[in-house]
Amino acid sequence: MATKLHFADRLGAWKARWGIGRMTYLVPAGLYAIGTPTPDDPVVVTANYKMSYDLVRQALAGRNVWLLVLETFGINVWCAAGKGTFGTDELARRIEATGLAQVVSHRRLLLPILGAPGVAAHEVQRRTGFGVSYATIRANDLPAFLDNSMVATPAMRELTFTFRERLVLVPVEMVGALQPTVVVGAVLFLLAALTAGVSAGFWVLAAYFGAVLAGVVVAPLLLPWLPGPSFAIKGALVGLVWSACCYLFANGAGWHVTTTVALFLALPAVSAFYTLNFTGCTTFSSRSGVKKELRLAIPAMGGAIAVSALLVAAGWFL
C-alpha cells in the first residue's frame, strides 16, 4: 500500500470537505498491510472515511503495521462512533470477516481514542478474544505511541481545537447552511424588493448573508477569543459587529430609527443561531449545555426576529 499522498488524494480530500460526492469518498472495509507486517506486528483500527484512512496511512509510512478498516459508510471515526457504526458489532464482524485471528499471533487492537464512544472494549474482548487499547487521539501521534512501548503520554490523550482544526470544519458547516440560507435570502430579497425597491432588496440580502457568514465562519474561527462560554452569545457579538458595519457602510444615519433597531436585533439573532449550531462540530461542548443554551436562546432569537419584523412593518406606516 502506498503511503505517500498524491495530488488526487488531496483534491479528493478538498472535494469531500465541501461535500462534493462525499458519500462515494470511501475505501473498502477490510484488512490492509502497511509495509510488510509479520504476525507479530500491531493492528491499528480506523474508519473507511478516506481522509481518516489517508491520515493513518501517511502517519505510519515506513513501518510495518496491519490496518483494519471498518465499514463506517465514509464517515470519520468521531462521528461514526457517535452514530454507532464505528462500534462493537462492526468491529467484531470485521475481525471475523478478515480472519484476523489467523493473520496475527497476538490479540491486541489499537483504536483511536475518539472511537471509544462506539466501542465497548470489554465486549469486544468477550466476543472476539481481542483486547482493545485506545491509543491516541490524533493519527500523527501513532508513531510516537508505538515507539513509546504502546503507552500514550498525557499529550497524546488530550484534545486540541486549533485554528487549523476549526478551519477545516467551516466548509462542512457552510454546505449545511447553504440550502436554508438561499431560501430565506430569496424570501427576504423579494419582500424588500417589492416594498422598497430592488436596491433595498440587494442591501437586505447582503446584510443577511453577512450575518450567516459571521455565525458560520467568523465566530467559529475566533471561538477562543470571543468572551464567555456561551456559543449563542459569542455568535451574537460577531453579529452585532456585523450590524455596526452594515450601519456604517450603508449610510445608516439616513435610515428610519425602526430600520436601525430592526437590523441590530435580527442580524445578531441569525449569527447566534449558526454559531450555536457549531456545537455539533466541537469536541468540548456537552449536549446538556447546548440544551440549556437553546432553552434561553430560542425564545430570545425568535423574539428578536419577531420584534424586528414588526418594526420594519411599522416603519412603512410611520
Partner: protein, 96 residues
C-alpha cells in the same frame, strides 16, 4: 481542553464509586481528563470538562457510569424535540 471551557454545572455525568473496580478504562478513554484514579477507585476530578460523548459509560465493564450522551448541535436537538412531539420525520443529525 486548554483554552476552551463550556457552560458550568450542566453535565449529566454520574459515577457510582462503590460499583467501580478501578480498572482505569474511563481514564484511558476520556479525551478531557475528567477522571482520576486513586486507591483503586475512579473519581470525577473535572466534571465541567465533560462533553457527554459517552465513551466512559460504554467502556466501563461494571456499568458504574451514567451519562446522557448523544447529538449535541442545535439543529440536531431541535429535530429531536420536533420528533418527540411527532412534528417531524426522524432523520437529520449533527455530523455526517
Amino acid at each position: 481542553m486548554k483554552g476552551f471551557r463550556y457552560l458550568r454545572n450542566v453535565v449529566t455525568l454520574e459515577l457510582r464509586e462503590n460499583a467501580c473496580i478501578g480498572c482505569g478504562r474511563c481514564v484511558e478513554v476520556c479525551p478531557h481528563q475528567v477522571f482520576r484514579l486513586a486507591q483503586q477507585k475512579a473519581r470525577i476530578a473535572d466534571r465541567d470538562a465533560c462533553m457527554e460523548c459517552g465513551a466512559c459509560k460504554r467502556n466501563c465493564p461494571v456499568a458504574a457510569i451514567e451519562v446522557d450522551a448523544g447529538v449535541g448541535c442545535a439543529t440536531g436537538l431541535i429535530n429531536e424535540w420536533l420528533q418527540e412531539r411527532k412534528l417531524r420525520a426522524p432523520g437529520g443529525s449533527c455530523c455526517s
